[in-house]
Amino acid sequence: MLIQNTFDKICGLTDITYLFKDGMSIMFGGFGGIGTPPGLVNLILDSGIKELTLIGNDTGFPDIGIGKIVTEKRAKKIIVSHIGSNPNAGKYMTSGELEVEFSPQGTLVERMRAGGMGLGGILTDIGLEEEIVNSDKQTVTLAGKSFLVETALTADVSIVYAKKADPYGNLIFDKSARNTNPLAAMAGKITIVEAAEIVPLGTLDPEEVVTPGVFIDHIVESKGVDWQWVWE
């Protein structure tokens, strides 16, 4: 079916290459590479940009998801909860080539959401007594109980993967590939979605939309993954 590009959001990869620049921050959806947009990862690699700050759940696997960008040494800093599945991240961290900010997973995703929701941050007691988490952070006491101040995260560009997008950018996700995608979708100053399918306006049930289109700036169609999953 012909899709009308009513909101000028649907585009090709070459139309958005100009958004990517050295030194920028990029937030990505996905969890262990699942739900990370493969075409946009390749676009970033092909664009040649470097010195990136990457923000997302984890560093995927060496050849899967955002891990490909880490492996190619394009990142100078990552803000993640986990790098265990990508030994390259650990190696570059140890060698001093990569700065790593660890955030507990539940805190990290709330920080991403806070950025997308226009909040300054959140208060949590997770990591209150753990130095890796609490160092250099402010605390607030409420009714005698202490909380860490965890700051909101935003990024110059967010890249997300969806099952379906309509021309407004309304998104639904695919099973556990949803994970951090709705959060990254909101937190980018500019958000690009790579959708497995672009559907006509009005075909998504208004009840089932997970990410309202207003958060989305650019929509590209996915060609699927070009990596092999760990279990394959």
């Binding site: 759940n57 007594e129 556990s176 279990w231």
Partner: protein, 221 residues
């Protein structure tokens, strides 16, 4: 963990006894993933995954994998009846609010007072804490399944954790190949003994001090 299949299942079977119908349960990788094998077929336990699944089922048959339906480790799973997907904030909201009834995970060290160290070996392995801090700090019951000792022979049940702590005073129960310990307000209590190990064996290989239950359960081989 360097334990034989039978021992691993013995530990998993014991852990399964702590799970009741209707509970929400989060299982770590390794031995914890064997726990569902030891639950009744008609149970109504729901399994939680950090990547946004409530009601995660067993592995799919070969060839039936779906790359977009995986557990937190990235491996294909199926769904239980009554399952739902959510984003990562909701998955962790449940944990922080204390709605996870039981979490079963591995550990590097557990202290006498239930402090947990399970995410970092400084200078060697720094994978990041992932969701371990939330699960350890907030699950209603934290059960650790681990080898009793390091490969070097040193006890993993310690007086005080020497590795960086994941969460303080969070562990409720420790199950090793030798026995089961409850973490009580006044210290560790050995409640179950896996023969052929003896109480003396455990005393010998355990740095932490512990009491022995008056009603010690002994599992014959």
């Amino acid at each position: 963990m360097g334990l034989g299949v039978e021992v691993r299942h013995k530990i998993a079977r014991r852990a399964a006894m702590e799970i009741k119908d209707g509970m929400l349960v989060n299982l770590g990788i390794g031995i914890p993933s064997l726990v569902p094998d030891h639950l009744p077929a008609d149970h109504t336990i729901m399994f939680h995954a950090e990547n946004g699944i409530v009601g995660m089922g067993k592995s799919p048959d070969l060839g039936k994998e779906d790359a977009h339906l995986c557990n937190a480790g990235g491996y294909p799973v199926t769904l239980q009846v009554g399952a739902s997907y959510c984003d990562s904030t909701a998955a962790f909201g449940m944990i922080r609010k204390g709605l996870v009834d039981v979490t079963i995970l591995g550990a590097l060290q557990v202290s006498e007072s239930g402090d947990l160290a399970n995410w970092i070996v400084p200078g060697k392995r720094v994978p990041g804490m992932g969701g371990a801090m939330e699960l350890a700090a907030k699950a209603k019951k934290v059960i650790v399944l681990m080898n009793h000792r390091e490969k070097t022979g040193s006890s993993k049940l310690v007086k005080n954790c020497t590795l960086p702590q994941t969460a303080k005073e969070c562990v409720h129960m420790v199950i090793t190949e030798m026995g089961v310990f409850s973490v009580l307000a006044d210290g560790l209590l050995l409640t179950d003994l896996f023969a052929p190990f003896t109480i003396d064996d455990i005393k010998k290989y355990t740095e932490a001090s512990f009491q022995v239950s008056d009603t010690l359960t002994v599992y014959r081989e």
